[in-house]
Subunit: 193 residues, 2 copies
DNA sequence: CTCCATTTAACGAACGTTCGTAAGTTATTT
DNA sequence: AAATAACTTACGAACGTTCGTTAAATGGAG
């Protein structure tokens, strides 16, 4: 299917060059087409971009949902650390997560409002999932604390810092060192000792 | 001085629209000039961009250096939390930090190599400052641990997560909640209890 | 008169988009 | 089964606009 090929190429160029820096002729050339042919599949650049964005968002959200529906609820340490590794895997396996990150932080100005809404939407969903898990673990005395929001936000902070290191991504050794350090301190910060 | 005005306007548009999305005519219009007049002050778009970048980098680095040369070395809790607040202040006071962040994560492709070098440079300098402080605090039993690298990386992770929240910046309430949560867990993770 | 910032004018190149058209595929009618 | 219609996909050509950049003319300050 050609429209999937186009979206793949668009994902690649939007991720590398941003919305304004990516051109339809580059994208078309990548799949062996002229730029005019893109208009047989998409209404225009904005339409192509938004479809790529929604695919990326859906992929990100479904990966998170699936992971946390299959975890061992008696082992928060394994569950939480495993999610960090999942993110690293996802990030390195395909471009969608990097694209999503770039566009949620620095959206094209004329689409900012719509994108912001999607970002808030996914963020709240993922936060809710985490908050429920943390509440369970607090209730069952597997981690310390009273309200679940504190470890939730702190954990999301660790996730963000790992994502940032991935985006920045100059060195795998440094990534692993940062992951180990953040995890060690975080886990000590929320576990009984 | 007109070239400073131009750099200020360039900073603004580069931050909002990125390198490719910002145009010289917009920047010139902001300071009441025609775009061709920019060439009396800068060699071209790249030159203007790189000068703005170096100004931003210098500002970021000098703020960090100055802060950590004036801290109370007997009180890591205050010093570390104060730096997080300094970052929030800096971020909200002027655009340079946001510009620096955007360009260090998503540099214009054709300048990537040079920018990456600058980012590695500043990152190493800031990490070294922190590492020395943490080593002192470990030696004087003000925080736990053996090697200073672990709390250094973990703290840099907290810094990153706060920066991300600032970039993303939809809500001051949420920013404060995330800051409080990350700090609480981090501090518990590195302090004696 | 000189210098320098700024202007007007113009450049080639690239941008996203639209149009008409041709070919190929699928569906409907004879 | 053959003929017709409708739809999809792709392309050449061109649209108007904007881009970064260069060159030459203008104007004012020292």
């Amino acid at each position: 299917m050609k429209s999937i090929e186009i979206k793949d190429a668009a994902l690649k160029y939007f991720t590398i060059h941003g919305y304004e820096g990516a051109s339809l002729s580059q994208i078309a050339e990548e799949v062996g087409l002229k730029k005019q042919s893109i208009y047989a599949h998409f209404k225009g650049k904005d339409d192509l971009f938004l479809q790529v964005l929604r695919d990326a968002k859906e992929m990100d959200l479904s990966a998170t949902l699936q992971y946390f529906s299959n975890i061992d609820s008696k082992n928060p340490e394994k569950a939480l650390y495993g999610y960090l590794q999942l993110i690293i895997d996802l990030f390195q396996k395909d471009e969608q997560l990097k694209f999503w990150l770039r566009m949620s932080f620095f959206p094209p100005a004329h689409l900012e409002k719509g994108i912001e809404q999607e970002v808030i939407d996914i963020e709240e969903k993922e936060r809710t999932i985490l908050e429920e898990k943390f509440q369970d673990w607090i209730n069952t005395k597997l981690i310390i604390g009273d309200k679940a929001l504190t470890p939730t936000y702190a954990y999301l902070g660790v996730v963000d810092s790992i994502l940032l290191e991935l985006v920045y991504g100059n060195d795998e050794k440094q990534l692993n060192a940062k992951l180990a350090a953040s995890w060690e301190v975080f886990w000590r910060g929320i576990s009984y000792q």
